[in-house]
């Protein structure tokens, strides 16, 4: 249970600052943007999964009344062989550009080929049907193992496998190979009394945010480009658009609107450069919206994967060696999250001998994008299922075997670095002590499963400015788009420093011209890093306020202290003034106060979670229902516990969807056949029980308040936890995701 002794604001549950706007429909999201003379854009997408583009004729579309402009790859600058530096990392510019508007080939159904701006969206859509594209259809490659075959059709003739800086000679669909090796795995397996080796397959799944992608762009006559959009990072939009359009960053302003979910999927740009091209061509503001099918087919899901896990343990439960083979589908262009998958797979355990191989493989599916702890859920499905099987073979309680082997501070991760203070053990212990875990569970076809998960969390750059108001409030200017209540969790950290209520902070998320560089809202970093910047900015304000109090009292600043919202003189005259009263005297003591903080912290601190789930399996239909769910997680320090719980609950439920029903279903031609919310089956509220979120607090030494990121790790354990529960219920080990009714029927031998 949470304790809230040390802090006045942190750990409380104030109403979020943007709440009233969001419950009254007044909050302005990307698609809500309106402007006089606005044109509407639509994107024409490839009907084929793999084809060479022979010709594109836009003349019939251009002739349609109401059409104001059509763009194709020809409107993009030549990408050449350049590597684009996106701040976040680098990427082949041709790949980046070709994913915006295909040039020589289309590599997935839904790949953007051309776009139209017209006076209304219906005309733009109709015009798209009048664009004539000649295709030479090629055989699609739809599965990672098939793509790795030596004779598989090649997506990119120039692509060669790189292995940590070394490039192979032969072209391949395998973009890269990574490896981590620790100790002597051979020796470790020789020491084991029980060895389990299993193969796993996971499906392609989508983030499933409810708001489709959107972008409105306008070019001023002076060449200034403004883009209004919903994004996880206005600055990364600016960088990507600058690279794709080869346009100076200083001439691009990105205005982040309210965003309707992202989960990693609104970092890469898709239609933002297209809106800019159309705006340039027409001289008008152009709004481009995706529909739901566009979102499924034309934006990045997280990949399907093939995983092999082998683990060995002694009879007393000590895991002596682990081996993993991870092959991830990158989609059309390199860049799957196999890297983080490989780094996370055994991270809940202290294992001396480990070898992990990972492969990033292109296939004819949309280029994958991050999705909540990218790579780690796929990996954990394998490893956490195998750990469960080892526990069963050895007759050890599944949480007990996790405790026996749990990673802790000072242990070495398989990829090399040593763990700082982490809360792995604490989450397992809390799960074990929870009444859910000790409740009876003996009914027929009912089962209970557990699994743990790890995610790194990241730091990266954040900037915050604070303007002090004369009435004792502050305006907090930040660059992190608020997807889940981070205005509140950031404001609360500044409020804590300044001894003012959370309600006295007015947070604003502003455009790229109006705040210092801030990396994406992603990597579970926002409350951690932007909160850290807010802490620093507030410290800056505090220092300046102390100087003002000193001036007021004609004492040395060293003699002014600040506690509980009051400045006081600690030497000489007894003086006291509240933060609020001092704010009213800024004019006479030297003028306005602006505080600023910028950070790029390295100590994000890893996050651990352990989940417990009860299921019931309908043995005749193969349907699994979730009866009870408990998710334990180390939050470091929960700034706003309600929103920490919300992250845990939301992540767990996305994992439940991934476990049971969500997947891209393809036909032989490589067409996704379920690109709608009807047939891409995300959980509804009728599919779920309440989700019990248990917050454990093991403070992160890398943050002044001990914050760890919380957004991503809750999606890591659910798939394995549910698979383990299904096994407990019906004695069948599921090794393929999703564990949909038809797969269960097959596994049970009913069909």
């Amino acid at each position: 249970m949470l304790e809230n002794k040390e802090y006045k604001v942190i750990g409380t549950r104030p109403i979020r600052h943007d709440g009233v706007d969001k419950v009254t429909g007044r909050a302005v999201y990307g698609a809500d943007f309106q402007a006089a003379g606005l044109l509407h854009g639509r994107v024409l997408r490839s009907p084929h999964a793999h084809a060479r583009i022979i010709s594109i004729d836009t003349s019939r579309a251009e002739a349609l009344p109401g059409v104001k402009g059509v763009v194709t790859t020809k409107d993009l600058p030549d990408a050449g062989d350049k590597v684009a530096d996106l701040g976040e990392g680098a990427v082949n510019l041709k790949h980046l550009c070709d994913n915006i508007l295909a040039s020589d080939k289309v590599l997935y159904k839904g790949h953007a080929v051309a776009a139209v701006a017209a006076t209304n969206p219906h005309i733009a859509e109709e015009a798209c049907t009048l664009i004539d594209v000649g295709y030479e259809v090629l055989p699609p490659v739809l599965e990672v193992r098939q793509a790795m075959e030596p004779d598989a059709p090649l997506l990119h003739e120039h692509l060669r496998t790189t292995s940590l800086g070394e490039t192979a000679e032969e072209p391949s669909n395998v973009a890269s190979h990574i490896q981590h090796k620790l100790g002597d795995p051979e020796k470790g397996f020789a020491e084991a009394d029980v060895i389990i080796e299993r193969e796993f397959v996971t499906g392609t799944v989508h983030q499933g945010y409810i708001e489709p992608h959107n972008a409105t762009a306008h070019y001023n006559q002076d060449g200034q480009l403004t883009i209004w959009c919903s994004t996880q990072g206005a600055f990364t939009v600016r960088e990507q658009v600058a690279e794709i359009l080869q346009y100076p960053i200083s001439k691009i302003k990105v205005v982040p609107m309210e965003i309707g979910g992202g989960f990693g999927g609104k970092i890469s740009v898709y239609i933002k450069p297209v809106a800019a091209l159309l705006a340039k061509k027409t001289g008008k503001p152009v709004k481009v919206l995706m529909n739901r099918a566009d979102v499924f087919e034309g934006t990045g899901p997280t990949p399907a994967s093939f995983i092999r896990v082998k683990m060995g343990a002694t009879n007393d439960g000590k895991i002596t060696a682990a081996e993993a083979y991870l092959a991830f589908e990158a989609g059309a262009y390199p860049g799957s999250p196999v890297g983080p998958g490989a780094m996370c797979i055994f991270a809940p355990y202290n294992i001396e001998n480990v070898i992990i191989d990972g492969y990033d493989v292109v296939v004819n599916k949309p280029k994958t994008a991050p999705y909540r702890a990218p790579g780690a859920p796929n990996a954990a499905f394998g490893s956490e299922t195998v750990v469960d099987e080892i526990a069963e073979k050895l007759g050890i309680d599944p949480l007990e075997i996790r405790l026996l082997n749990a990673a802790k501070e000072g242990d070495r991760r398989a990829d090399g670095p040593v763990h700082p203070r982490i809360g792995c053990i604490e989450t397992v212990e809390a799960a074990k002590a929870h009444p859910h875990y000790t409740a009876p569970n003996g009914k027929k076809h009912h089962g209970r499963g557990v699994a743990s998960g790890y995610w790194f969390n990241i730091g990266l750059e954040s900037s915050v400015t604070i303007n002090v108001n004369s009435d004792g409030t502050i305006n907090l200017i930040e660059g992190s788009t608020d997807i889940g209540g981070t205005r509140a969790s950031i404001a609360m950290q500044a409020a804590e420093v300044l001894g003012i209520p959370a309600e006295s902070v007015n947070p604003s998320v502003v455009d790229t011209d109006s705040v210092g560089y801030t990396a994406v809202t992603g990597g579970s970093r926002t409350t951690y890093a932007t909160g850290y910047a807010a802490y620093e900015a507030a410290q800056d304000v505090k220092a300046q306020m102390i100087a003002r109090a000193a001036k007021l009292w004609e004492v040395d600043a060293a003699n002014v202290q600040f506690a509980d919202g009051e400045f006081s003189s600690i030497n000489g005259k007894e003086e006291q003034i509240s933060f609020r009263d001092l704010c009213a005297r800024l004019g006479e003591t030297g003028g306005p106060i602006v505080g600023s903080g910028t950070v790029n912290p390295g100590g994000a601190g890893g996050a651990y979670a352990t989940h417990v789930v009860d299921v019931v399996v309908d043995e005749e239909t193969g349907k699994v229902d979730i009866l009870r769910y408990t998710a334990v997680q180390d939050a470091g320090k929960a700034i706003h516990p309600s929103y920490v719980e919300g992250q845990i609950q939301g992540g767990a439920v996305q994992g439940i969807g991934w476990a049971l029903n969500e997947e891209y279903i393809y036909n032989a031609e490589g067409e996704m056949t379920n690109a709608s919310f009807l047939d891409y089956r995300m959980p509804t509220c009728l599919d779920l029980p309440m989700i019990d979120a248990i917050i454990v607090e093991v403070p992160n030494p890398g943050h002044p308040y001990g914050v760890r990121g919380v957004g991503e790790v809750p999606i890591v354990p659910p798939m394995a936890a549910i698979a383990n529960a299904i096994y407990d219920a019906i004695g069948v080990r599921m090794t393929e995701l999703p564990m949909s009714p038809d797969r269960l029927l097959k596994a049970m031998g009913k069909i």
Binding site: V23, A31, D32, G260, S676, M690, A693
Partner: protein
């Protein structure tokens, strides 16, 4: 350009008139013609509930209603739920329970919850979950939303 029809309807208690093409949904009319952007497009085929409004007292997906069909009818949207100086109890309950994260689904959920509580002021948890099953939320896992609706029912 397609012909536009003249439509008169009651919107949040006020008479409004607008012109629209037959192919424009009520959702498009609300957002693009009347500039009420509280109702959201999440799927445009009736599967997410983000565009939920109340039409003649009945919850509907505004993406599945033509604007021209609202002639002589009464439409309630999220913009009409609160009093000028006070939120509706459901809105208060959503804030108190932290029942929103990104907030894109929130107007639809509030309209749906309002339609439920108008008809059944004391629903069980199962009744709430059944009624709200047509509203997708991807952020919250629904836990806090269901609690908010139950709280609002208790408060009313």
């Amino acid at each position: 350009m397609a012909r536009r029809s003249h439509v008169q309807t009651t919107l949040n208690g006020e008479t409004v008139e607008f012109l629209c093409e037959p192919r424009q949904s009520l959702l498009e009319v609300l957002r693009d013609e009347l500039h009420l952007t509280g109702a959201k497009e999440g799927c445009n085929n009736g599967n997410c509930g983000a565009c939920s409004v109340i039409l003649d007292g009945r919850l509907v997906n505004s993406c599945l209603v033509l604007g021209v069909e609202t002639e002589g009818k009464s439409v309630e949207t999220i913009e009409g739920v609160a009093d000028p100086d006070k939120l509706h109890p459901i809105q208060d309950a959503f804030l108190e329970n932290a029942a929103l994260q990104c907030g894109i689904c929130t107007p639809g959920f509030i309209m749906s919850a309002k339609a439920l509580l108008d008809e059944n002021p004391n629903p069980t948890e199962h009744e709430v979950r059944y009624w709200l099953a047509g509203n997708l939320c991807r952020c919250t896992g629904y836990d806090k939303i269901v609690r908010a609706v139950l709280d609002a029912a208790a408060a009313e």
